[in-house]
């Protein structure tokens, strides 16, 4: 009997999975920025992911892409360059709120796309019957 195939292991599924990771990490970083909006000396942090992903996907060799993709993780960085208030805090609460909304929507879009892939696999397996 043939072994079960490795479902959701195609590049797109992996990318969507990583996007879910990244948006969750980003939401947490935004939450921390918002919690510390009044903390003297606090510098905002952010999560970088999209640029690294873009550079991984633009490689030529498919195996290289797969390997680099498997090692790709969202990275939290400190933003020390944004202008700060007199107490040293550089959190811009309006920007954080906007980012929060954007991140939430991106997370949901990724989840819906993943659900779609799962639904199509399931339809093929069950031949469209419940």
């Amino acid at each position: 009997m043939p072994l079960a195939p490795d479902f959701l292991s195609d590049t797109a599924a992996i990318v969507i999975g990583k996007t879910l990771d990244a948006t969750a990490a980003r939401q947490k970083s935004i939450a921390n920025n918002i919690a510390n909006v009044e903390t003297p000396g606090y510098k905002r942090s952010y999560v970088s992911f999209e640029e690294e992903l873009r550079s991984v996907l633009s490689r030529k060799d498919r195996r290289e892409i797969q390997k680099a993709l498997s090692e790709l993780v969202p990275v939290r960085r400190n933003d020390v360059f944004s202008p700060a208030r007199p107490d040293g805090n550089n959190v811009n609460i309006d920007a954080e709120i906007a980012d929060l909304a954007k991140t939430g929507l991106k997370h949901r879009a990724a989840a819906v796309l993943l659900e779609g892939k799962i639904a199509m696999l399931r339809a093929a397996i069950t031949e469209g019957k419940r």
Binding site: V15, A109, G128
Partner: protein, 106 residues
Amino acid sequence: MAISPIEEARGIASVTSVRRTENGTAVGGANETAASFKDAVKNALGEVNHLQNQTDEMAMKLATGDLEDVHRAMIAMQKAKLALDLTIQVRNKVIEAYQEIMRMQV
């Protein structure tokens, strides 16, 4: 992605589209129409595959931030889903019809 082959449908074809040649023998029929059934399904699956690839590409562009219009990715996905569902349903109906015919007493 594998959907079971549709060769069984060959049986239906043998009942239809049989031509009569000048000297009265029957030609055409089974092989020709079965081939076209198989091709039709193969083409449909090819189209489904193409739509799924397109969806995947849009999903990845959404992930990198290169696609701003989320609705385009969603519409692409729905197209792929619909195409797949249609293909599966048609394939099921054809098999059903074949099985019904085979049950008929001649």
